[in-house]
């Protein structure tokens, strides 16, 4: 009997653990909440760069998809610490920045997905999104 109790307790705990983390916005029914019913077509991808230690412009490449099998969208040299691209949502974007550090080339790579989330507020489908994603191309050491 005691062991049966333990097993029930174990199953109940696991069930509670698995269900306690999946609360979504679909639970919401709040008529006062602002609801955007149109999903954005394009959002910003922000590239954050370090200053090149060698003081020459940084070689930047921007890809739709991954670096190794995606499409090269832009290739440029810059001295800016920030660059923006207005890009279609629901895509992965990857950027690379080449720095010259004490004679070595360091290529910084970052990638993220530009996306929005939908949820139900009462009976309406609403959209939520971040205005931009940040690809961190700063040297970390």
């Amino acid at each position: 009997m005691k062991n049966l109790f333990k097993i029930i307790l174990l199953v109940f705990t696991i069930t509670l653990l698995s269900t306690s983390c999946n609360k979504t916005k679909s639970d919401i029914c709040d008529t006062n909440k602002v609801c955007y019913t149109q999903a954005p077509d394009e959002l910003y991808v922000k590239l954050e760069l370090s200053t090149n230690p060698s003081a020459v412009p940084i070689d930047v490449k921007f890809y739709i998809g991954n670096m190794d099998n995606g499409k090269l969208y832009d290739h440029f040299y810059t001295n800016n610490n920030v660059e923006y691209f207005l890009m279609p949502v629901s895509e992965n974007y990857t950027a690379t920045a080449r720095y010259i550090v004490e004679g070595d080339t360091v290529m910084v790579i970052d990638s993220d997905r530009l996306s929005n989330q939908s949820y139900k507020n009462c009976e309406e489908t609403c959209y939520d999104w971040d205005d931009e994603i940040i690809l961190n191309l700063k040297l970390s050491k």
Partner: protein, 200 residues
């Protein structure tokens, strides 16, 4: 529906109740026992959750499999992963380095043997353990479609093992996690093992 905070509190209380369902009645009067002595075959189904970490890295580790309580060994299938991206450096070629974000995963068959040398009045036991994680390791990287650093390897470890109830054991020790070339291999390993034991 209950608020998330209340549900989390209930979950923690239930989990703690589960672990201590067989309470430690007495930790005094330890009896030295032969660490190489064995009993009869008592196979149980078990699951374990743990972590291995150091100052630079942190991985979760989950597994399930066989817990043998008579001969004090375990054979578990485990999955370990780093739950966040970590910045690492590759030397791609001469004078060319990559700075990239990495997650790592390892699937392993965990073979563990325990050597208990103290037994307490309530049948809880204290001893040493040795473990071998025989597994497949790989890293996933932001911006790359393919995994890298795939390899099969053996991760050895050992430490203290405390079977504190008839259905739970706590292990704390060292794990030489040498599969990843971009991280310090010396890690601390903490693990809680639970098993279904229908013997009183």
């Amino acid at each position: 529906m209950l608020p998330n905070t209340i549900r989390k509190v209930i979950t923690v209380v239930l989990f703690a109740s589960l672990i201590f369902a067989s309470p430690i009645k007495a930790i005094a009067q330890p009896i030295p026992i032969n660490p190489f002595g064995v009993s009869y075959f008592q196979p149980k189904f078990g699951l374990n959750l743990g972590t291995f970490f150091n100052g630079e890295d942190f991985l979760f580790d989950f597994g399930l499999g066989l817990e043998e309580l008579g001969y004090d060994f375990s054979i578990n299938f485990n999955g370990s992963f780093r739950p966040y991206y970590k910045t690492v450096y590759f030397k791609e070629s001469d004078k060319m380095y990559w700075q990239i974000e990495e997650k790592v995963v390892q699937f392993s068959l965990d073979l563990e043997k325990r050597f208990y040398f103290l037994e307490f009045v309530n049948s809880s036991k204290l001893g040493l353990y040795g473990i071998l994680k025989v597994g497949y390791f790989y890293g996933t990287y932001k911006g790359l479609s393919k995994n890298r650093n795939q390899n099969f390897g053996i991760t050895p470890g050992g430490g203290l093992s405390w079977q504190f109830s008839k259905m739970a054991r706590l292990s704390a020790g060292y794990l030489y996690f040498n599969q990843n070339p971009y991280a310090d291999p010396h890690t601390v390993n903490l693990k809680l093992s639970l098993y279904i034991n229908n013997q009183d």
